[in-house]
Amino acid sequence: MSARQLALAIALSALVAAMPVAGQAPQKSYTPPKTPWGDPDLQGVWPGNMGVPMQRNAALGERTALTDDEFAKKQEQAKKQAQADSESTAASDTKVGIGPPSYWTERGKPTRQTSLIIDPPNGRLPPLTPEAEKYRKEARGGKGLPGEWRGAADSWEDLNIYYRCITRGLLGSVIPVVYNNGNQILQAPGYVVFRNEMIHESRVIPLDGRPHAGPDIRMYMGDSRGHWEGNTLVVETTNFTDKDAIGSNGAGYPGDPGYHSDQLKVIERFTRTGPKNLDYRITVIDAKTWIRPWTILLELQKDDNYQILEYACHEGNYAMGDILSGARTVEAASEPRP
């Protein structure tokens, strides 16, 4: 590695370490450049960084940032993990697993943020409404909503929307996961486009103040409308279906927010806080599901070297056929299901 590259890497780590994490609104001291038609310029590739949990560890209370000690420990852990990721399990007597090897991952750089959720102040999801609890328990005749695979594979409907390669939904598409956390903002006169790598979303957001589509039109990614408040882009999205979960991969694993209703309204705020920094906060309002709104914060860094590549999920989804046919094979052999 050249001295210049090493210096850059050190500088980047220092920048990440110094980034403020706060529940309050971003500092307004930075004025971003403008597009040729006069809009604040938010363009670039802003990849997500895995490693900030959705919900805050209860022991951390209302702390939004790790201490120097805690952060140093996290950086060390991340470094060890990255080294482990780079090695495949290759010894002849290595126990081989059914899950994927860890070198499949792109974890990004650790940050001090203690949780993605910054409101409520304890960094944890507000309680579900009784209606939502009941709905989740009783859906599909008591089977519950498809989330993490729990053994049933009667049809594709037993697998979640992401396994089916349909979409990861509006929030899900930006919540960082094990890889492919590519986010890109493009701007044209009167429009902003938000692209996500997984699963090739391109959300075209008009800025001309037109009304939303009528209530009979429902979409997985909803219907977005944007406007500027100073240098902050505010995007309001409605017209969601009720067929998807909030969360990166569909519901089921601990801490996942789970399914939303069709009353969901999402308000996103994008503010550039520095040449390479984007403060991206998302407020979730769904009175049918959670008793109060909640907000997540993603602090993103520009990386125009990150290549967003095509993620044609459905077209290559061998797994769906294999999972279903595998279940049928097992049934035919009368083996008990695991």
């Binding site: 008009p206 039109i217 095509e310």
Partner: protein
């Protein structure tokens, strides 16, 4: 646009029968009598210059086979991304988002999209459904050089196709405030004996508040793709 180039921003759509069949064709029956006239194909005039698609003999045979099996083998039925050039003449709108630098095409069908790189050309790293797209201006015409396609998409519902070695050069020219002329020259020596060209107008969607809606069609193709693996099989469809 502020840089002096033509402004191609907007929502556009083809209005012709190219997606059914690129060449001259009479009206003919569709593959499913159960849908009656809805599944039938209207007559259409060729968008292929000279009406001839110059297949090599073995490729011509493959095209016939595609046509015979189109109701299950057409990637459109499976909700697979349509590739280039077909994405541009599907019966769904698409939006050109022309930034100050690169140009994004967002297609309503199957949520497909492609970012056309207007800077220094990049090489295709792998084969994809929507290709590696390098663009530049020639006067008033946007020229896009497309490589890195995977050869799995079709060019229409009649089974016309090329391989992953195909090289396509597209030309978009604005001929009036609400019209584009679209041309694509297709070259693939492993399938065709010479390059051939398609050409058609594209029309702006001029209604107030025109926008793309969502056609994430995977869920409409699951029965077709996986129905035979369902627990109760395709027999008792509701």
């Amino acid at each position: 646009m502020p840089d002096g180039h033509p402004n191609l921003n907007g929502i556009w759509q083809a209005v012709n029968s190219a997606n059914w069949n690129l060449q001259d064709h009479p009206a003919y029956a569709g593959p499913m009598w159960e849908l009656g006239a809805i599944a039938a194909v209207p007559a259409g005039k060729s968008v292929v210059e000279g009406n001839d698609i110059p297949y090599k003999p073995e490729a011509a045979a493959k095209k016939q086979e595609n046509f015979k099996n189109r109701h299950t083998e057409d990637p459109e039925a499976k909700c697979y991304m349509p590739g280039i050039p077909r994405a541009n003449y599907m019966p769904y709108p698409f939006q050109i988002v022309q930034t100050a630098k690169d140009i994004l095409f967002v297609y309503e069908y199957a949520n497909s999209n492609r970012l056309v790189n207007m800077g220094k050309p990049i090489e295709d790293a792998s084969d994809t459904w929507m290709g590696t797209n390098n663009g530049h201006w020639e006067g008033e015409t946007l020229v896009i050089d497309v490589t890195g396609l995977n050869g799995l998409a079709w060019f229409d519902r009649a089974g016309n196709f090329a391989s992953e070695k195909v090289h396509i050069v597209e030309r978009f020219t604005r001929t009036s405030p609400d019209h584009l002329t679209y041309q694509a020259t297709i070259e693939d020596p492993s399938v065709f004996t010479r390059p051939w060209t398609i050409s058609m107008p594209l029309y702006r969607r001029v209604e107030k508040d025109a926008q793309l809606l969502e056609f994430k069609c995977t869920e409409f193709a699951e029965e077709l793709l996986y129905g035979k693996y369902k627990k109760t099989g395709n027999g008792d469809r509701k």
